[in-house]
């Protein structure tokens, strides 16, 4: 059983898996997603983003949320 101290990594795992899943479903081209993510302040290079989206790399929490925001805003289209 995970102790309290492991809550955060588990949360990160969950977020990362969710992001990978959404990326696959949204069928966004990586270059387009990276460009948008860069536009809202993202700091990772495209290769790291690719690795993260294939669950091969852990990235800082703030980048995790920026990636999520980028995907959400891109798939929302002109909703806002």
């Amino acid at each position: 059983m995970p102790s309290d101290g492991q809550d955060y990594p588990n949360d990160a795992d969950r977020l990362r898996r969710g992001a990978a899943q959404r990326f696959k479903e949204a069928e966004l081209p990586l270059a387009k997603l990276w460009t948008y993510y860069y536009g809202i302040g993202g700091d990772l290079d495209e290769m790291s983003l690719d690795a993260y989206l294939h669950e091969a790399l852990d990235i800082p929490a703030v980048q995790v949320t920026l990636v999520a925001t980028a995907m959400a805003e891109m798939t929302e289209g002109d909703l806002l």
Binding site: K32, T35, Y36, Y38, G39, I40, G41, P60, A61, V62, T65, L66, T69, E73, L80
Partner: protein
């Protein structure tokens, strides 16, 4: 050909450059000014062709027929205006019906009702080539004095055209990359402002931006833009929130 109308002044050219949002609009204005300055009893249509190194050529036309004629030349990759642009020489066709030089271009032009063509190069600097092309519906519309007039007009456009080419250099980045660059600049400015107001770090500032976007259901870039415009950063989340 007009003799009474004064040549378009450099003031008019400058106004045109100041008022044009982009290069195509500027060129269109130049073609229109040329046509009205050269038309009198005989109506003259004008196109201006500009070829820039490493960029697609731009054509502006004072009328649709003239536009077709220029496109015809690009389709055949030959024609009086292309010759004027690429070889930087004056091309005069007194009567398309009897001028055998232009192959398949001639019948296409005659079909549009054009009988005389005069194409004059416009000096456009080291990395561009341009020409002012004039079309008329009667044969022998362009005599020696009108050739001189068109050459003078083309010469008077040279400076403003080179200015316009500098001002409207081909965009180095496609639209979506420019949008990202602009958005990033706004987000970075907002982040800097939040950091300054809260004496916080970059990650914390990005976090504040994201929370504000989420809670108001707006795009992060819009929130950032508001912050930059008002100079007011949203409050940081309460401790432990």
């Amino acid at each position: 050909m007009a003799t009474s109308k004064a040549l378009t002044t450099s003031d008019e050219f400058q106004d045109l450059l100041l008022e044009s949002p982009g290069f195509p609009e500027f060129l269109l204005g130049l073609a229109t000014l040329s046509a009205s300055s050269l038309s009198s009893d005989e109506s003259v249509e004008c196109t201006i062709t500009v070829e820039r190194d490493g960029a697609p050529s731009t054509v502006a036309s004072s009328s649709e027929e003239a536009q077709h004629l220029d496109e015809t030349q690009y389709a055949f990759d030959d024609g009086p205006c292309l010759a004027a642009v690429r070889q930087q020489r004056v091309v005069l066709i007194q009567d398309l019906g009897s001028d055998g030089r232009w192959g398949s271009y001639s019948p296409a032009a005659l079909k549009e009702g054009i009988h005389s063509v005069l194409a004059v190069p416009i000096p456009a600097g080291p990395s561009s080539r341009a020409a002012l092309n004039c079309y008329a519906r009667t044969p022998h519309a362009f005599e020696q004095d009108s050739v001189e007039r068109v050459e003078e007009l083309a010469g008077s456009m040279s400076r403003i055209l080179q200015l316009a080419l500098r001002l409207h250099a081909p965009e180095a980045y496609p639209e979506h990359l420019r949008a990202a660059l602009k958005s990033r600049a706004v987000v970075d400015a907002a982040v800097s402002l939040i950091m300054l107001q809260h004496r916080g770090g970059r990650d914390g500032a990005l976090d504040i931006l994201q929370r504000a976007a989420k809670s108001s259901n707006r795009r992060l870039q819009e929130i950032a833009s508001d912050i930059v415009q008002t100079g007011k950063a949203p409050s940081p989340p309460a401790e432990g929130a």
